[in-house]
C-alpha cells in the first residue's frame, strides 16, 4: 500500500488490547457508582415512555400452561391441564403434578453437585438477550379478541406427532382447543380437555356468569385506562377476577426488569391462585427466574413490553448458554439452553431473532425428549372452526 500521512499516523495508534483485570477494575468502579446512585429500581419509571393503556398481564396458572401442555401429551393426566401450577418437570418428566409430592421426593438421580457447570456461552448471553428485548419491542400488539396459535408436539416413545390449535380469548383467557390425533398411528390422547377432531370443549357455548362479570369489569377498566397515560396496572378491584391467559393478567406484571425479576421469583416460589409452587430444593433463584420467564415468553398473549422486559431480566441471570442456530423446523433461531441446578432436565428454547417470539421449545431428560414447535400466531375477532376436521 502507498503510505501517506494518515497511514503513518494510524500505525502510531496501535495499542495493546484491554487487559481483563483493568476492565474488571473499571467495571467495579462503575458498579460502586451505580449502587451509590441507587439506580437499580430506584426510579424505574423515570425516563420511560408513557405506558400504553393496554398491554401487559397474565395469571399464575397460565404461566405454567406451556409446560402443562407439553406434559399432557400422551399422559393420562388430563386434569393437570385444568389444575396447572406446575413450574418444573422433574426427572420423571411431566408426571407428578402434585407439588407436594414433588417437594417430598426431590430428584434422586441428580444431587445438586452432580450437574456440571454449563459450558461457557458461545455468544455473550446478555448481548443477545438485549437484542431479543429490542426485537420484541418492534412488534405491534394486535387488538383482536382472539389469539390463534398452533403447535406441533412430539415426544419420545409416542408415535408420530400431535398438532394442536389454541384459540385464546384475550379478554377472559378462555381457550378453545383443537387437536389432531397422532398422525401415524391414530392414537388418541387421553386428555378430556381436548376433543380430537371434535368440537371445542373448553369454551362453554355461552359465557359463564363469571366471565360475563369479568368482561364487563374489563371493559370498564379498559375505558378508564385508555384515558390515562400511566395509571399503572389494573387492580384486582377494577378488573375483577383475572382469568388464566387473559391479557389483563399479563398486563398486571411489571415491565421494569428489576421489579419483574422480583415478581417472577414470587410467582415461582409462593402460592398463587390457591396453587402451591413446585418448589425444587436444589434450585437457585436464577433457576426459578429463568424457568418462570421461559414459561411466560412463549405465550403469544404476552405484550411486546413484557416480552422485552423478560429478556432484560434474563440478561441479568446466568447459567444458560446462547448460540445461533435453527429450530427443529429449520428456522433461524437464537438457541437458549439451560441445565437447571440439581435436576437432569435440560430446557432448550428457540427464539426468533427478528421478533423475540418463541419458535420452539424442547425439554430433555434421560430417555425422554419433548418437542413443541410453534407456528406463527394469527389474530381474529371470531373463533375459527376446527382446522383438523375433514
Amino acid at each position: 500500500m502507498i503510505m501517506d500521512e494518515v497511514e503513518l499516523i494510524r500505525r502510531l495508534g496501535d495499542v495493546e488490547s484491554l487487559p481483563a483485570g483493568v476492565s474488571e477494575r473499571a467495571r467495579s468502579e462503575l458498579r460502586v457508582a451505580m449502587a451509590a446512585s441507587g439506580a437499580p429500581g430506584s426510579d424505574p419509571e423515570k425516563g420511560r415512555p408513557p405506558r400504553r393503556s393496554r398491554g401487559r398481564r397474565r395469571p399464575a396458572s397460565a404461566v405454567r400452561r406451556r409446560r402443562v401442555l407439553a406434559g399432557a401429551i400422551g399422559i393420562a393426566a388430563g386434569a393437570a391441564v385444568v389444575g396447572g401450577g406446575v413450574a418444573a418437570l422433574g426427572p420423571g418428566g411431566a408426571a407428578g403434578h402434585d407439588p407436594a409430592a414433588r417437594v417430598a421426593s426431590p430428584p434422586a438421580a441428580a444431587p445438586s453437585t452432580a450437574v456440571p457447570a454449563p459450558t461457557p456461552p458461545p455468544l455473550a448471553a446478555p448481548t443477545v438477550m438485549y437484542e431479543l428485548a429490542s426485537a420484541s419491542l418492534s412488534q405491534t400488539p394486535a387488538q383482536d379478541r382472539y389469539v390463534v396459535y398452533s403447535e406441533t408436539d412430539t415426544q419420545t416413545d409416542y408415535p408420530g406427532e400431535l398438532k394442536r390449535t389454541h384459540v385464546v380469548d384475550v379478554r377472559t383467557g378462555a381457550s378453545t382447543n383443537y387437536q389432531q390425533a397422532y398422525s401415524s398411528s391414530g392414537v388418541k390422547v387421553p386428555n378430556s380437555n381436548y376433543a380430537p377432531g371434535g368440537p371445542p370443549t373448553t369454551l362453554p357455548p355461552h359465557p359463564t356468569a363469571e366471565q360475563q362479570a369479568y368482561e364487563q369489569a374489563w371493559a370498564r377498566a379498559g375505558a378508564a385506562t385508555g384515558q390515562s397515560t400511566d395509571s399503572g396496572p389494573p387492580t384486582e378491584a377494577r378488573t375483577g377476577p383475572q382469568l388464566q391467559d387473559s391479557r389483563a393478567w399479563f398486563d398486571a406484571l411489571p415491565t421494569d426488569p428489576a421489579a419483574l425479576r422480583v415478581k417472577l421469583l414470587d410467582l415461582a416460589t409462593k402460592p398463587h391462585d390457591g396453587i402451591s409452587p413446585a418448589l425444587m430444593p436444589s434450585f437457585t433463584s436464577d433457576d426459578y427466574i429463568y424457568q418462570e420467564a421461559n414459561t411466560l415468553l412463549w405465550n403469544p398473549v404476552v405484550s411486546p413490553e413484557l416480552r422485552s422486559a423478560l429478556y432484560k431480566v434474563l440478561a441479568g441471570t446466568s447459567g444458560y448458554t446462547v448460540t445461533r442456530g435453527t429450530d427443529p423446523a429449520g428456522r433461524p433461531a437464537i438457541v437458549m439452553t439451560r441445565h437447571y441446578t440439581g435436576i437432569t432436565e435440560v430446557d432448550v428454547t428457540y427464539e426468533d431473532p427478528g421478533t423475540g417470539a418463541v419458535l420452539a421449545q424442547v425439554w430433555k431428560n434421560p430417555g425422554e425428549v419433548i418437542t413443541g414447535v410453534y407456528q406463527p400466531v394469527t389474530y381474529t375477532n371470531s373463533i375459527p372452526s376446527n382446522p383438523y376436521t375433514g
Binding site: V6, L12, E16, L18, A26, E29, A39, P44, A124
Partner: protein
C-alpha cells in the same frame, strides 16, 4: 439488536445492566482511546472514571443517536482534561491540556512517544497542529469515526470538523521532511 440509545434509555429507567451492556460494547475502543492519548498507566487509572462519568451523565445523552461511541469519546476527553489539569505544576503536560484553547502545544501521548523512534518528523508535525485539528484527525484515523461523529464527540459543528481535518492534513503534508519520510516508506517498504 438493541441500540446504545435504547440501552441508555433503559438504564435511565433503572436497568443498570443495560448500561453495563453499553460498556461491553465500547470498552475496547475507549481503552484504546485513552492509551493513545495518555499512555497505558494513565489509561488504567482513568477507564473506571470514564464509566462513572458516563453513567452520571447519561441523562444528557441525545437519544436520537443510536451509537454511543462518539459520546463516550467526548466523556473520555473530558476525563483526560481533568487528569491533565491535575498533573503537578512543572509537568509540561499540565498546561497543555486545554484543547479548546487551540494553543500550539504538545498534548501528551507518551505511548506514541515511545513508539515513534525515527519518526520525529511526524511527531513534530503533529505537535505543531492546533489541538482541535489534531483531535479530529486522531478521532478519524485512530478511532475510525466519521467526521460527523468526530464533530459530535468534540461538540463542534460537522463543517468545522471537516475544515479542521482538511487543515491538519495539509499542514502535515507541508511539514518539512514529511515528503521525504513518505517517499522513504513508499520506496523501501512497499508492503504493509
Amino acid at each position: 439488536m438493541a441500540s446504545d440509545s435504547e440501552l441508555i434509555k433503559w438504564s435511565l429507567a433503572g436497568d443498570t445492566a443495560a448500561f453495563v451492556e453499553v460498556v461491553d460494547r465500547h470498552e475496547a475502543a475507549v481503552w484504546a482511546y485513552l492509551v493513545r492519548r495518555a499512555g497505558r498507566q494513565a489509561a488504567e487509572d482513568l477507564l473506571g472514571e470514564v464509566w462513572t462519568a458516563a453513567f452520571a451523565a447519561r441523562r444528557t445523552y441525545d437519544l436520537s443517536f443510536p451509537v454511543a461511541r462518539p459520546w463516550l469519546f467526548g466523556v473520555a476527553l473530558n476525563t483526560l482534561r481533568r487528569h491533565w489539569r491535575s498533573q503537578p505544576v512543572g509537568d509540561p503536560r499540565a498546561d497543555l491540556a486545554d484543547l479548546a484553547g487551540r494553543s500550539v502545544m504538545s498534548d501528551p501521548w507518551p505511548s506514541a512517544d515511545e513508539r515513534i523512534h525515527g519518526e520525529a518528523v511526524l511527531r513534530r508535525a503533529l505537535d505543531q497542529l492546533p489541538a482541535d485539528e489534531r483531535e479530529v484527525l486522531f478521532l478519524v484515523v485512530w478511532e475510525e469515526l466519521t467526521v460527523a461523529d468526530a464533530a459530535r464527540s468534540l461538540g463542534i459543528p460537522a463543517g468545522t470538523a471537516r475544515r479542521y481535518l482538511h487543515q491538519a492534513r495539509v499542514a502535515l503534508r507541508d511539514t518539512p521532511g514529511m515528503v521525504a519520510l513518505l517517499d522513504q516508506y513508499n520506496t523501501v517498504s512497499e508492503s504493509k
